[in-house]
């Protein structure tokens, strides 16, 4: 039962339903530096519009359910630790970022985790998983270099893409695999 993925999706829906919760949990640089460290983790679950939430869930749910069925412990550890890695990366590496929200960092990490699991298990359609990794890599590369989104558009022009979140999510997925191999 992929309870971790379903719980993550449920949490995002609950937080989105309450603007007070959103304000309390969103990644906000000044508040984190004032001691509200929980926002490093919870900020990933806050979304700025319904479309922002639904599109991220559209990737996170299938990728997370599939990954959790294939590698349950690794996926659940990912949900526990990756948000801190994403939040911490944004805090340390992007000082201009004042507020952040969205599950896309976790979704990107889950896609990588799932693709690597399928490839390492010797799946017959490995070309598909390599194509997924290539597409994700291209998206991140374009976002980092051109400072705009690839194959995505915010409904709110005031929102700026934060590609570092995707990089951090992918890094968290790779870290889990590298740690397992070392052990």
């Amino acid at each position: 039962m992929p309870w971790a993925t379903l719980a993550a999706a449920g949490l995002a829906l609950v937080i989105h339903a309450s603007s007070r919760l959103g304000a309390l949990l969103v990644f906000e640089r000044t508040r984190i530096l004032q001691g509200e460290a929980w926002r490093l983790w919870t900020g990933n679950w806050v979304h700025f519009s319904p479309s922002h939430l639904w599109w991220n869930l559209a990737v996170l749910l299938p990728a997370g359910i599939w990954a959790e069925r294939l590698a349950p412990e690794r996926t659940r550890r990912f949900f526990l630790f990756a948000p801190f890695i994403i939040g911490g990366t944004l805090l340390l590496v992007d000082p201009a970022l004042a507020r952040y929200g969205g599950l896309s960092g976790l979704a990107a990490g889950l896609l990588v985790l799932l693709a690597l699991e399928q490839i390492s298990h010797g799946a017959p359609d490995r070309w598909f998983w390599w194509a997924v990794l290539a597409l994700l890599g291209l998206k991140v590369a374009v976002e980092l270099s051109a400072d705009r989104t690839l194959l995505a558009r915010f409904s709110d022009p005031a929102l700026h893409p934060a590609p570092l979140a995707h990089v951090a999510g992918i890094f968290a997925a790779l870290l889990g695999r590298f740690r397992r191999r070392r052990i």
Binding site: A23, H47, F48, S51, H52, W55, N56, A58, V59, L90, D94, P95, A96, L97, A98, R99, Y100, G101, G102, L103, S104, G105, A107, A108, D125, F128, A131, V132, L135, K139, T149, L150, L151, A152, R153, F154, S155, D156, P157, A158, L159, H160, P161, A162, P163, A165, H166
Partner: protein, 276 residues
Amino acid sequence: MVLGFVTALLCAGCAFMFNGPRKTDRSSSVVNYLYPGQTNPLPLTTIPVLRLPLRVGVAFVPSGDVRDNYSPAGITEEQKMVLMQRVAAEFKGYPFIQSIELVPSTYLRRAGGFDNLDQVRGLLGVDVIALLAYDQVQFTNENFFSLTYWTIVGAYIFQGNKNDTHTLMEAAVYDIASRHLLFRAPGSSQVQASTAAVYLNQNLHRDSAKGFDDATGELIRNLKAQLEAFKDRVKQSPGEVQIEHRPGYTGGGTFEGGFLAVMALLLLVRRSGRRS
């Protein structure tokens, strides 16, 4: 002789009470403030550049003269601050707004124009300003109960005056650097009340304040709707307004339809490959 004196006194008193219908008008105008003396302002050529998050100013444009000798001029500075705080509170939570400054009326001079706004920009560091203007007209008429005012006591008890207060407010949001009007929104209200003669001025003040309050509520609703419409316009016509992001921006990650469409295509190819 005594009777004549008393009659004259009563007539003078009644003349004071029974003034007939009267009208009070207090107003201000964004156009007169920004384009004083200009009938055909030059068309703008620069594209507005909005650097998000925005630093916004809210200000009432200086008002015109009140055309009535019985009421004090316009809306007080305290009332203006309260109304501006209401407007600011509604928009402070938006992620693309860094700060909202309430600009005191003393910072804006009558017919100051864009040069005055440039001074405000330099002083307060605001990029965009919401200029608030108003037009409030108050009518007061006497009804049948005003006949009781002859008894003197009736002027305290019977509501022989009918007051009608019409308020129209407007918010025009300008990008100061490019002098472009980004969007605007109206708000209006009507307050009708009856009052006894003795409490006329007091109730006119109260109706005036309520009129501004109600009009501000509608103005805020319309301003939110116009803001959403402006955001849609920016998305659909990106050449009209240029968006840049400065330190302190709000960021997010998203996948959206394009990525999912490509993923769906890959899945389709994968499935058809498995079947064959």
